[in-house]
């Protein structure tokens, strides 16, 4: 590729891009079409002058404007809000104000989440942000609620951990689906949650719920036997079994090796679980032990999955290549 031509092409496209951009004040103007305003505002670098910033706020506050335009106007203040505490406070208030349109409140949350990446000012106001999120944990809007729960869970918030457990054990209102609640607890798993999670694994009829619980139990040495049972139970859902295998590989690698070997050698077993076990061997096992495992290596010479391009076939191929099984 000729670099000079390449440069010329890019520079031409850049020139077009720059010339087609509308000015920020035009985008705030109602005479511009709504579609153009939405697109332009959501991509805009934002207001550079105070007057433009005031104009953007006028659009955000104007209830007669289309919601999409108000949301786009809010998006456009992102760069300005980065260093301005007053704008950040406005966003925090908007987020908690149930009198405002939900779509606008969601936009405020999205913007705050973006600003968490690039606003040192907001990060110094973390406590205010956390407080605002806790306030919307009980919001009637599912999206706001679940986004707040997720962020708080990621921040290891003690309040939200209690609320999630209460939700799961029916001691408090249900906040999100059980699968999601368990997944969120996983951001900061605590020992007192293990007994409940073990019960979930034993009792839940939902494979998704079980799998999420198994993911969390991978940090609990006392759940090892249960994980072995789940892994070895052929009647169990494959996803749950694979999650159990992953958990065991981390928690009790020697036992994983013993049972995984059995699974690989068992032709009645599911290809998916066998492939997962072989993949673990192929990437994380002790090379000397694998190279010396004559019976397994011999067996693998003739092992084929359901299709040549299937996961089992690929896992066998990778294993043989890694340990030079020929």
């Amino acid at each position: 590729m000729d670099v000079k031509d390449y440069r010329k092409r890019i520079e031409q496209r850049l020139a077009q891009e720059s010339s087609s951009a509308k000015s920020y004040s035009d985008l705030l103007d109602e005479s511009t079409s709504p579609a153009e305003r939405v697109k332009g505002l959501s991509e805009a670098v934002g207001p550079r002058a105070e007057a433009d910033l005031a104009g953007a706020f006028a659009v955000v506050r104007n209830t007669s404007e289309h919601d999409d335009v108000r949301v786009a106007a809010l998006a456009s203040i992102a760069t300005a809000a980065r260093e301005r505490e007053d704008l950040l406070d406005f966003l925090l208030r908007l987020l908690q104000d149930r009198d405002q349109a939900v779509v606008l409140r969601r936009a405020a949350l999205t913007l705050l989440l973006q600003l968490r990446f690039n606003s040192a000012v907001l990060n110094r106001k973390r406590a205010d942000f956390i407080s605002a999120l806790r306030t919307i944990v009980d919001d009637p809007d599912y999206q706001l609620r679940s986004d707040a729960l997720e962020t708080l869970a990621q921040e290891k918030d003690e309040y939200v951990q209690r609320r999630l457990m209460d939700s799961l054990t029916n001691e408090g209102p249900r906040l999100v689906e059980p699968e999601k609640a368990i997944q969120l607890l996983g951001y900061d798993i605590h020992a007192e949650q293990y007994p409940f999670l073990r019960e979930v694994v034993r009792q839940s009829p939902s494979a998704a719920v079980k799998r999420e619980a198994v993911r969390l139990l991978s940090a609990d040495p006392t759940s090892k036997d249960l994980l072995v049972d789940m892994f070895r139970d052929r009647a169990e859902n494959d996803e749950v079994r694979r999650a159990s295998a992953t958990a065991l590989l981390s928690l009790a690698p020697e036992e994983f090796e013993t049972y995984a070997r059995e699974v690989v050698l068992d032709e009645q077993e599911s290809d998916s679980v066998r492939a997962a076990c072989l993949s673990a061997f192929g990437h994380f096992a002790n090379p000397t032990e694998r190279a010396n495992d004559g019976p397994l290596n011999e067996y693998l010479l003739d092992l084929h999955g359901e299709s040549a391009s299937g996961p089992l076939e690929k896992a066998v191929r990778d294993y043989k290549m890694k340990y030079r099984v020929e």
Binding site: A78, T110, P311
Partner: protein
């Protein structure tokens, strides 16, 4: 008669990797049998138009050509040359490129295999490139026991001011990715860190064979032979990632719309102070296009996709640097503050051109974080830059355009080296 080639200061095969920026080499007559006077040889591609392709020059300031004639003294003294990948023709696997040294008669005196190793669009990798990358990344994580945990620990809430919210956002992440890539290359030297072009659909990337598909609850599923199924961070198994867009057919988008396109990002401005606004859109917007780990800076590195997202952010900076010719660290268009912390108008420490960067500098004095995970930046056999405790400034001339010794030995498939 026989010749030997030294590349990147070594005769070892481990140093035989080049990008678009010229790598230094030397060729010498190791066996002059039959020669009575200096021998004229030609350096050329071993297999024209197959595998990675090379260009050659006698100085880094000269444009590369497909062949280069050199005169080798009979006493075996080395003759310097430079070689680089031919832009647009990177390797697909290790050692698929080669330098052939031929006599005027056409007799081949030596063949040296190497790789034109550049970072590529993840969506365009071959299956082999994909599988090697995935395997190396899974090994670096090693079920939560590997060195990846240090990279995870470098990017937590309490450390974010080192990396985000100030001008050093781009250089800090460049060092971060380079450190990670060098660790990956320590596992498999043929691997580079691919980038996720978040302004384009990436159907190949978001598959169970590669970086996984998401189930309705935001848990990432992998093929049964994909080692990323054993991914573990912070004692937790697996990855939570919930795209708020159709990852197979759409570019990343959040509630505000799609991320800023590549062109719109390049059009942000001619000077660094304007360009770095991309930390918001597209960077942060790409993050908030997901639920799960990526949505929060504190948890984002728990998802390996984070590093591909940031490779694209870095690529955009590299592309901007190329388009706007911003490699000269003596002008403020390249970087806003050219001094160091403590001077008038300086940014927070770690964000000024002459400041060293945490955690590689090991600095845990206030206001830096209390710990500095990971130690010095991983060295490379291909380049001696940057220093183990790099400054912001060392991240800028990454191709060694202004100073050949500053070359960081990475390139992007679509960002050329241009004299």
């Amino acid at each position: 008669m026989r010749t030997d080639i030294t590349l990147n200061g070594s005769t070892s095969a481990t140093s035989r990797y080049v990008g678009w920026a010229p790598s230094p080499g030397e060729v010498r007559l190791s066996d002059p049998a039959g020669a009575v006077s200096p021998v004229t040889v030609t350096l050329r591609n071993q297999q024209p138009n197959v595998g990675g392709q090379l260009v050659f020059s006698s100085a880094p300031t000269q444009p590369g050509t497909d062949t280069l004639d050199l005169v080798l003294p009979i006493d075996g003294s080395p003759v310097p040359f430079f070689t680089a990948g031919r832009f647009g023709a990177p390797s697909e696997r290790d050692a698929d490129a080669g330098i052939e040294v031929a006599e005027a008669s056409g007799a081949v005196l030596s063949m040296t295999q190497l790789m034109v190793r550049v970072r590529k669009d993840a969506n365009t990798l071959t299956d082999g490139e994909r599988d090697r990358f995935v395997a190396a990344f899974a090994t670096l994580n090693n079920r939560g026991l590997g060195r990846f945990s240090e990279f995870r620990d470098m990017h937590r809430n309490e450390m974010l001011a080192e990396a985000h919210g100030y001008d050093g956002f781009l250089p800090w992440h460049r060092a971060y990715l380079l450190d990670l890539e060098r660790e990956l290359q320590g596992i498999d030297a043929s691997v580079t860190l691919p980038y996720w072009r978040f302004d384009q659909p990436a159907p190949y990337l978001f598959t169970v064979e590669f970086f996984g598909e998401t189930d309705p609850f935001g848990t990432v599923r992998f093929a049964a032979n994909n080692p990323l199924q054993f991914w573990k961070t912070d004692q937790g198994d697996g990855i939570n990632r919930e795209p708020r867009f159709n990852a197979a057919t759409e570019p990343a988008r959040d509630q505000f719309g799609p991320v800023r396109t590549e062109l719109a990002t390049l059009a942000l401005g001619d000077v660094y102070g304007d360009f770095v606004k991309m930390e918001g859109n597209p960077h942060a917007r790409a993050h908030t296009s997901f639920g799960g780990f990526l949505r929060n800076a504190h948890t984002a590195p728990k998802d390996p996709l984070f590093f591909l997202l940031h490779a694209n952010v870095d690529r955009l900076w590299a592309m901007w640097q190329w388009v706007k010719k911003r490699f000269d660290v003596t002008v403020t268009g390249t970087y806003r503050f050219l001094g160091q912390a403590g001077q008038a108008n300086a940014e927070r420490i770690g964000h000024n051109l002459l400041d060293t960067m945490w955690p590689w500098n090991g600095d845990t004095a206030i206001p830096r974080p209390t710990t500095a995970p990971g130690g010095p930046l991983a060295p490379s056999v291909v380049s001696s830059a940057p220093s183990s405790m790099p400054t912001v400034g060392e991240m800028i001339d990454y191709q060694g355009k202004m100073n050949t010794g500053a070359r960081l030995a990475f390139d992007y498939d679509d960002v050329p080296f241009e004299l």
